[in-house]
Each structure stands twice: as C-alpha cells, then as structure tokens.
C-alpha cells in the first residue's frame, strides 16, 4: 500500500511570492490533515478535511493561506503571499476513519528568503 505522497519535498521562494503544496492521501482514507511544523517544534494542525469538507480550519491563517480537497482525494495548500515566518515544514496526513491512526507524508520544507 502506497503511503501519503507530498510534493515538492523542498521549495525555496522569495517573500511575497505564492506557493502551493500538494498531497495525495492513502487510498480509501476519508480524513486528510495539514500540519505546520516549525523548526525544533512539534506539528500543529492547520486544517482537517472529512472527504471534501473542511471540518476544522480554526488554526488556518485565512488572510494568506487557503486549502482545497477536490473530489475528496488530493489536496492543495496554498500561501499567497508568503512571508519570512512561513519557513517551515508542511506535513500532510490521512486516516481512514475517526480515531484511526494518522499516517504522515514526508512533508514539504519551505524556505522563504
């Protein structure tokens, strides 16, 4: 069974530029999560999807961040415009159902210069 796939693995952009991250969850997993992991810290949830519905986006900075999960499968997280403080690792995870184990992807390391 293929794991959670994320791309790109690394991204370097200048501040004020837009950036997008892509996630393909494990097949059959209804729930998809985006986490932000700052250097030296644990991940923090940004948004959670149940199929194509965003059911918890309370931690998503909506002025510059947006996300979508079309057809309840792949998801894209976008930042526009990026700021220096957005430099971090963005992790995607998926789970089959409520209370099931979350499986994580390898993350995208974003550097904003």
């Amino acid at each position: 069974e293929a794991g959670v796939v994320q791309s790109p693995r690394y991204k370097i952009i200048e501040k004020k530029q837009p950036v997008a991250f892509w996630c393909n969850p494990i097949s059959g997993h209804n729930t998809l999560y985006w986490y932000l992991q700052n250097l030296g810290q644990g991940p923090e949830l940004l948004i959670r999807y149940e199929n194509e519905e965003a059911v918890d986006d309370s931690q998503l900075p909506k002025d510059r961040f947006s996300a979508e999960r079309l057809k309840g499968v792949d998801s894209t997280l976008k930042i526009q415009p990026a700021e220096l403080g957005d430099s971090a690792v963005y992790l995607c995870a998926s789970s089959r159902d409520r209370d099931d184990e979350q499986y994580f992807g390898p993350g995208t390391r974003l550097t904003v210069t």
Partner: protein, 114 residues
C-alpha cells in the same frame, strides 16, 4: 486547552542501552489517546506506540513500551536494547477521543551512539 510537555530536549545513550523519554500532559477530558511518534531525518512521522486512556495495561510494541500514569498525567516511553536506527526526534502526542486532532509536545532529540 490540552497541552503536552516534553522536558528533555536532547538525550544520548550508547547502543544496546535502555532509555526512557518523559512526557506529561494536561487535560480535563477522561477519554483520550496518547501516542509516541518517531521522526527521523527523512521527516516522515512514524507511529511508535499508542495508548488508550481507558486501558490500565501499558502498551508494548517489541522493544518499545510505555509507563502510563493516568492520575499523574504522565506517559513515558522506554526503548530497550536501543539501536542506531532509533536515532530520531521523538514526539509525544495527545488526542481527545473523536476529536481527530493531535496535540504534540516539543519533541526530544534522541541519539544512539555506537
């Protein structure tokens, strides 16, 4: 709000030794789960062990075991016969049952020396 605290930023032991990583948490909930995740340099978070709060028996997975003290809100991870491949960041995490939201600690960087 739920919080998770890992008081050991870094630990280092020799190969084959036993090491214990500490974790405390704060919650008013009674039904929850506790986890230990491993994050090697590849960045992929891997579930090491999971404990349901309603279970009194401590979870065990091969060389990994936990000491769950519910009253003290403590959840430590013991790694026996440590191996070089155990070198990684270890995160303690908490999840209220049904909430589907993991709350992570700050992590402990564990180094196993040959």
């Amino acid at each position: 709000a739920q919080t998770v605290t890992q008081s050991q930023p870094e630990m280092s032991v020799q190969e084959a030794e036993t090491v214990t990583l500490s974790c405390t948490y704060d919650t008013s909930e009674s039904n929850y789960y506790l986890f230990w995740y491993k994050q090697p340099p590849s960045r992929q978070m891997i579930l090491v062990i999971r404990q349901e709060a309603y279970k009194q028996q401590n979870a065990t997975e091969n060389r990994f075991s936990v000491n769950f003290q519910k009253a003290a809100k403590s959840f430590s991870l013991k790694i026996s016969d440590s191996q070089l491949g155990d070198t990684a960041m270890y995160f303690c995490a908490f999840e209220i049952q049904g909430a589907q939201k993991l709350v992570f600690g700050q992590g402990t960087r564990l180094t196993i020396n040959p």
